[in-house]
């Protein structure tokens, strides 16, 4: 398989990073977990999200830097994640793949 393999949760996290990276809060553990919780109604734990983020970073799909300490965090810095070019590429490929499938399906399936 030439393409990077992504699990479902990994894909969702990657999408959340893409969504949040340009917003003022930035994409880091808490915001990503909140976003996922809101959209999927699943309980997501920060520690789990972090594991996925680190894996994505190892695969080169996201990059990160430290910054943005606040009082609520007890002065600890956040790791802010951004999508890399490879990440964008993977997301695009995913979408293409899925769209391809949907287009191949017969129309009655939708209703």
């Amino acid at each position: 398989m030439s393409r990077t393999y992504l699990g479902e949760f990994e894909e969702l996290v990657l999408l959340a990073v893409a969504l949040l990276q340009d917003q003022p809060t930035g994409a880091y553990g808490v915001t990503i977990a909140d976003e996922l919780k809101q959209r999927t109604q699943r309980s997501t734990s920060v520690t789990g999200v972090h594991v996925v983020l680190y894996r994505l970073e190892e695969k080169g799909l996201v990059g990160s830097e430290l910054g943005g300490a606040t009082l609520a965090r007890g002065g600890r810095r956040k790791r802010l994640f951004t999508l890399t070019a490879a990440g964008q590429q993977v997301l695009r490929e995913m979408r293409q793949l899925r769209l391809g499938f949907w287009e191949a399906l017969p129309t009655p399936f939708f209703s």
Binding site: V46, T47, H50, Y54, A72, R73, G74
Partner: protein, 888 residues
């Protein structure tokens, strides 16, 4: 959670500290900052959304979620990296025999752990004898540990079955009398009415402790503990009624509630609603309900409960002391209260300050004590009989667990050290291949934990067997919940690590060059000889306990001999139950089967004691006294040491003379003979000492004063003609019935009733401990002896070739152990003497610490030890030189 704004307790805004520590410990260092920051941020959100308590709960769970393979691997990797940087500096002298191509995998690598486990298992399998010895001794000591732990758990669970536990309080009374403060677990009943008007007190319960009362059945009296209370008792406390209703206490003053256990004891069934019973002095009561036995221990055990209204009626009749309205009579009543919320405790204590009472001589202050604080108890309280273990007891139990586990761990240590030679090569080879010291330690620790875990399998059957023999432990039940299993495994792991730590540390320090060059010539190090010291320690402790066992057994034997030779078997005792006995005694004396009767509280030893303050020449002491029939001394032929018996004509109204025993004379006067004729101040009356009696030969030796107080006599002893017991019993009982038809006669044969052979509690405890310790020590020495034969086979073979006889060979090996045994004796005997002396101070001077007892104890241990050794060393005699030497 409903928090009112007036709540004074500050809301915790911080995550729980333990969770933070866990996080620091488990999370990879480079990831800690961001992860913890995120969690803190989310915690702050959670506090706003769901309140501080649930947020803390959530945070704890979240911190635990860090335990997942991804983080752990990275954490371990970072630790290993740190180690790699750190270790080479220290190990530069031993490591580089050759430089390994690959760095050895880290200590905690799963493959490595699997490997440790495999090798450990093979090692255990290879040395089956050692493994069995270790496993057996560990499981034995762990079984005792588990039993004690279960007891501790019961202690901490005491009273945890009440609903809204943290809102329940007991009122304590602090009495200040002439500057002396005493704290009582009881409180005056009138206080309850005042408490009821306090706004944040939801409910109060009055409990009056009436003590044991005789319930009259056709089989004789059954003493039953009675408490008076009100229906709210069953609302406030977690006691449930199986049948009947609590309200019957309020409606009907003759209603009686029994617990399941009591009902079983009296009627043999719990289906007894409506039955009527009679209590001596209290009257008739009808069973109005059955109380379910509580699921856990409680500080308020119930046998029978009557209504507090019936207590008031009984007070009017004069059957029980009148305390319902009396602030001073607080010593046998308790007040409990349920507060509206658990934050009201401080408030209540402040309110109670207002109720401080001044009495004639003293004044009373009141305090509230949460029910949870009763067991294990921290403060010294009076009239607190069922509070169970105090913190001191908890500490003692922990200490026993620790020392027993250590003694068994000694076995492991000494066996491991004794085998150091055979493991040395293995360590050498491992190190040369590139193992770090940490890895070698890991290997040994894995072995010891494996042994401990195996021991756990045998612990459970051991526990069931042991629990039968330990007093008060019969009702210990094991609930196989997760907490219990986790506790067991943790205990085994800790035991394993403790046992393995020292051998692992020593063995891992071997230098490969030394151990591999020439095994025979090296002196490994002195540390290996530690195992000898451990054997000595084990056996000295065994000897210590054995000495205690022997002297207590000796005491029991002598005591029984004295009893059987002095106490005649044809004496009956009759409980007088506070009745006027003159006519009864005359009539019984007139019976044809009866020889003599004595109205006395003393018959070779006190039957019932009182206490008096005695003043002689400005010296005031508290001394026990006993009421005696003067004729008891004559008829039993007891010789006075000095002075004379009471004169035959004595005025009944005023007391003139007393007798004292030798012990009391010694306490009172420096030269005991001079005491005769002197005047003592007994409480406030002056009496003359008329004679000195020898000390009691049965029971404890107390200083005693013998007084003639006919009103305080509680027992009639009746000497009957031989072989007439049946008829005499019948005749006496019918005489009793004529005089006191409403009470049952408590008539017993003195010897059977008081002295039928029971084993003393000390005997059971010492005997049990001695047995367990001896088994553990014997197992240990068994392993060592077997090993020492094994390692010396070649030497023994050569000796045999040179012409040594079989006996000589066995002697050579056994001799060393004999010496160890002697050294153990040198330590154990003085220790036993010391402890025996302490025991003697507690039990009176009958304990014989003489040479014979000590030698018996020492010889017993030495023989068991040496026989164990011999069972192994006997093989030395069967060595065939050809077989053991042909390989060389």
């Amino acid at each position: 959670m409903n928090k009112s704004f007036s709540d004074p307790t500050p809301q915790p805004r911080h995550p729980p500290r333990w969770a933070d520590r866990l996080l620091c410990w488990l999370t990879p260092t480079d990831l800690l900052e961001e992860l913890q920051g995120d969690l803190h941020e989310q915690f702050a959100q959670q506090v706003d959304q769901v309140g501080p308590w649930r947020a803390r709960w959530w945070y704890g769970l979240e911190a635990l979620k860090v335990i997942r393979p991804y983080y752990l691997r990275r954490r371990v990797a970072s630790l290993a990296n740190w180690q790699k940087e750190y270790l080479p500096k220290r190990l530069a002298t031993t490591r580089p025999y050759f430089t390994p191509e690959h760095l050895s995998p880290s200590l905690h690598n799963p493959a490595m752990i699997r490997n440790y486990f495999k090798i450990a298992w093979r090692n255990l399998w290879k040395n089956k004898l050692f493994s069995v010895v270790n496993i057996l001794s560990l499981s034995l000591s762990m079984a005792v540990g588990v039993i004690l732990f279960t007891g501790l758990k019961a202690t901490f669970d005491t009273d945890h079955f009440h609903p809204k536990l943290n809102q329940l309080v007991r009122i304590l009374t602090q009495e200040t009398n002439e500057g002396v403060q005493t704290k009582w677990a009881s409180a005056p009943l009138p206080l309850a009415t005042q408490l009821n008007s306090v706004s944040f007190v939801e409910k109060t319960v009055k409990v009056r402790l009436a003590g044991k009362h005789n319930l009259q059945t056709d089989k004789g009296d059954v003493p039953i503990d009675i408490k008076f209370s009100e229906p709210s008792f069953f609302d406030v406390f977690g006691f449930n009624l199986l049948s009947g209703s609590a309200q019957s206490l309020a409606n009907n003053p003759t209603s009686l509630l029994l617990t399941q256990k009591t009902a079983e004891k009296i009627f043999g069934s719990t289906n007894v609603l409506g039955h009527t019973v009679q209590f001596e002095n209290l009257g008739y009561y009808t069973v109005g309900g059955i109380i379910q036995d509580p699921p856990l221990e409680t500080h308020l055990p119930i046998e029978a409960m009557l209504s507090i209204r019936s207590a008031e009626l009984l007070e009017k009749k004069g059957a029980i002391s009148s305390i319902s309205q009396d602030w001073g009579g607080f010593k046998s009543s308790a007040i409990y209260a349920r507060l509206k919320s658990d934050g009201n405790l401080e408030q209540l204590n402040a309110t109670l300050q207002n109720y401080t009472r001044k009495l004639d001589k003293s004044h009373l202050q009141f305090l509230a004590q949460p029910i949870e604080d009763i067991t294990p108890g921290k403060i010294d309280l009076k009239s607190n009989p069922h509070a169970g273990a105090s913190w001191e007891d908890v500490k003692t139990q922990l200490f026993i667990i620790l020392s027993l586990t250590l003694l068994a761990a000694f076995n492991y240590i000494s066996l491991a050290l004794a085998r150091a030679f055979s493991r040395a090569q293995e360590v050498g080879v491992r190190k040369i291949i590139g193992a770090t010291r940490g890895q070698v330690i890991g290997q040994f620790l894995m072995e010891s934990t494996l042994v401990a875990l195996c021991a756990l399998f045998f612990t459970v059957p051991c526990v069931t067997i042991l629990a039968h023999y330990i007093p008060d432990m019969d009702d210990v039940t094991f609930t196989w919940d997760i907490a219990f299993v986790v506790g067991l495994i943790t205990y085994a792991l800790i035991t394993g690590l403790v046992a393995g730590a020292f051998p692992a540390w020593l063995l891992s320090a071997f230098q490969p060059i030394q151990v591999l060059r020439k095994m025979k010539t090296i002196k490994l190090f002195r540390g290996v000889a530690v195992y000898k010291a451990l054997i000595v320690v084990q056996f000295s402790v065994t000897i210590l306990f054995m000495i205690l066992v022997v002297i207590v057994a000796d005491y029991d034997r002598k005591n029984n001999a004295i009893i059987s030779s002095t106490v005649p078997s044809n004496v009956l005792t009759l409980d007088l139950k506070g009745e006027n006995y003159q006519n009864l005694q005359n009539e019984i004396s007139g019976l044809s089967q009866v020889e003599t009767t004595l109205a006395t509280n003393w018959y070779y030893e006190p039957i019932k004691l009182g206490k008096d303050s005695v003043t002689l020449n400005d010296k005031t002491l508290e001394v026990n006294y006993v009421s005696i029939d003067p004729r008891a001394i004559e008829t039993e032929g007891i010789r006075l040491l000095a002075g004379q018996n009471f004169p035959s004509t004595m005025p009944l109204s005023t007391e003139q003379y007393v007798l004292v025993n030798e012990a009391a004379a010694k306490v009172l006067a420096s030269k005991s003979e001079t005491l005769v004729g002197q005047n003592l101040l007994l409480d406030s009356a002056s009496v003359q000492v008329i004679g000195i009696l020898p000390n009691e030969i049965i029971g404890q030796q107390l200083p005693l004063i013998y007084r003639y107080l006919p009103n305080e006599i509680t027992t009639l002893t009746i000497k009957i003609k031989p072989h007439t017991e049946m008829e005499a019993t019948k005749a006496i009982q019918s005489v009793w019935k004529d005089h006191f038809p409403e009470k049952t006669a408590n008539l017993y044969n003195l010897k059977e009733y008081r002295y039928s052979g029971e084993i003393s509690g000390e005997m059971e405890i010492f005997g049990g401990s001695a047995l367990i310790i001896m088994i553990i020590a014997a197992l240990g020495i068994l392993g060592i002896a077997s090993y020492s034969v094994e390692t010396r086979t070649k030497e023994l073979g050569i000796r045999k070739v040179m012409g040594a006889s079989n006996v000589k060979l066995v002697w050579i090996i056994t001799k060393n152990f004999g010496i160890l045994m002697l050294i153990a004796g040198l330590i154990g005997v003085p220790a036993g003497l010391f402890c025996g002396d302490l025991l003697r101070k507690e039990m009176g001077s009958y304990l014989d610490l003489g040479l014979i007892n000590i030698s018996i104890a020492f010889a017993l241990v030495a023989i068991v030890g040496l026989l164990t050794v011999l069972s192994q060393t006997i093989r030395a005699g069967q060595i065939e030189p050809v077989k053991v030497l042909k390989a060389d």
